[in-house]
Assembly symmetry: C2
Homo-oligomer: 435 residues x 2
Amino acid sequence: MRADLLLDSARFVLVCDEQATALPDTSVAIADGRIVAMGPATELRDAIEADRVIDARGHLILPGLVNLHTHLPMTLLRGVAENVDLQGFLSLVWAEEARVMDPEGVELGARLGAVEALLGGTTTALDMYFHPEAAHRGAVSAGLRHVIGPVFFSFPGPDGLSWEQRMEIARAWPEVVRRIGGPYVPVAYMPHAPFTVDIENLSQIAELARETEGIITTHTSENESENRDTLESRGMRPTACLDVSGVLSLQPVLAHGVRLDADDRRVISAAGASVAHCPGSNLKLASGAADIVGYRSDGIRVGLGTDGCSSSNDLDMFAVMRLAANLARLVRDDPAAISAADVVRMATLEGARSLGLGDRLGSVEVGKEADLVLIDARVPHLTPLHDPYTAVVFAAGRSDVRHVLVAGQVVVDDRRVMRVDVDAILAAAQARVGS
Amino acid sequence: MRADLLLDSARFVLVCDEQATALPDTSVAIADGRIVAMGPATELRDAIEADRVIDARGHLILPGLVNLHTHLPMTLLRGVAENVDLQGFLSLVWAEEARVMDPEGVELGARLGAVEALLGGTTTALDMYFHPEAAHRGAVSAGLRHVIGPVFFSFPGPDGLSWEQRMEIARAWPEVVRRIGGPYVPVAYMPHAPFTVDIENLSQIAELARETEGIITTHTSENESENRDTLESRGMRPTACLDVSGVLSLQPVLAHGVRLDADDRRVISAAGASVAHCPGSNLKLASGAADIVGYRSDGIRVGLGTDGCSSSNDLDMFAVMRLAANLARLVRDDPAAISAADVVRMATLEGARSLGLGDRLGSVEVGKEADLVLIDARVPHLTPLHDPYTAVVFAAGRSDVRHVLVAGQVVVDDRRVMRVDVDAILAAAQARVGS
């Protein structure tokens, strides 16, 4: 059998299926962007004729990580707002955004963010930011599977657009995604939050998403003051706004979801919506600790995200996995609150499912698109190696990522980003913020 | 002025003094193991004649990190005990220890741990383990500043020694430290915990430490069940045991200190003892979240530690810094609970002070020993760079460490450990555990 690429003799393949399968001494063959064969290394070496072979001895292969909530262009605002709560944070950040974030800045920031994400093993990101076309162009240029879409506020907002202008941009969005190309992603629409988008406007977005088979993501119950603000301005909690407007029936990705009460959870579970858990940001801004173990037992799908770099302050999904695992143990007062395999699955398959991409992505299985990460485990902090899922969550880090594939293309090769000039991006980013 | 080494033109030197000084475009000159000059890069380039120059452009220089509580040889037990609480953890680990941890295993594990620690920017570790001489030999061989000493139990314990044997080993310990050599460290004595060492025995250790000017470290109030066990067996809480036995007056390092009540805190503060905060281990084992901001305002010195690799599961002090900063925000419900500079100082100067080494180590100042770490900040996740302390805590990681100096010696040079064969250590470690 012919293949474009053979990943030869991985120490373990972490399938990330429900059974938390880990296959020792296994090879993976890729053709036309998909996984076409997987099996014992000795068998595949005979059966596969590949254009390129990557020596995966000593490596772990896992599905590309899915960052389910981020603001990639905000890499440019990394570290500008420190020691403040969410509301103080937003005022500092909004001032700096006005200074640096024109379309050119957004494209640069998204390209920088995509580079950082890919180097750390993230292959798919659900992004949200102004000037989504510029952001999409920047992130796709580095090779990231980049889900973004128009942002909505019921008031002019930092980008100064009227509601009519927003809807016009939104109706044209599917065409923009087609034109820019890049790895397959769904069309997406991004109401900022129920406290900034009123219920009528939310309904209009839901209608558009239904017509175009798009997905929706929005900030939901990030902290108590957001809940209070929403209750005051809309007469109901954020989740209820999403419910009555029809957004919730489209199974949106609810960013943060730190402060969901029992009613919220019941409604979210019934609708089949997902929560994008961002523990790094939530702790740093003292928003609280989402009870993801409780959410999961309520039947809510939970994926993981970093949030933007002005609150997190990086895009390290390995740090997020470890923190999610540790924080769940604290919140539940139970050292067995969640298994390492469940955490890795939240960062991969559950993330992909949240984006409606569960059939294409999120696990290492024949037929799926080859979004894959190769971790070099021949390092002190991963030695000795017992259960590979435990190693990934509690000891591995972004620096162990050696190769990254998106849709079968090697976008990070031996730690080098292949499609863009990283040094030039770093210089441009530092110059743009003027420090 | 002559120097052995010039670190030329660092982007920032993080002094880690009380003022959180960060010096831009600064060079550091080192001779005979000490910092002999520090100042603007242009000035030092003219003033210093150095045998070697390291180009530090784009780098951050910070003091070597002090891991204030670990069990280095337990690298060999990484990942063997998962999803269990502290007591379940101890039974799994003690069984595996009996299998692999003879003196040869301990030396190998400590050498592996020292390599991992150094590669991640840790220059000093307060270690605790059986067969301390073997552990010390292993860790010193890699170049680590390694503080360890005899472990005490009032019962035979996993190493099967009687109390008389323990005291005999302890009396001979200062001579062992002298004989093995290595960078300067204090003599240390290590009663396991007040629930495993009775008060009379604690008094004997205190007396020995006083005679030999040694330091003491012990586990203290790691979780509620430890507090209960101590109360039952000794009739008082762990801190009270240390107080009445005279240990506390020697300003010991109290490992964990998760569950300290108001009385404990008052007594610890009055005595000038330190807490080694190990948030990664504490969360993973669901021991709880120490209120370090409260401890600090009570006047208790707080340093940071990883704990052993069977509970943490690595020796990553950057992960610990980030978690300590984030967890403090959650515990205090305050996004300004503790500054990044305070966290870096806990991991450096406060750690050094806790070991009685505050005059020698822990900050980048002329006259101090040159235990230094150079971080390459020319990477996507550290770009753009604003406040360097914030960057170190919330975005940097162990993989950014490029050079590490201990007492002026370059023990990690361009990411390579210089004194031992890392590949051979990894192979031996994997072979020893038999997986």
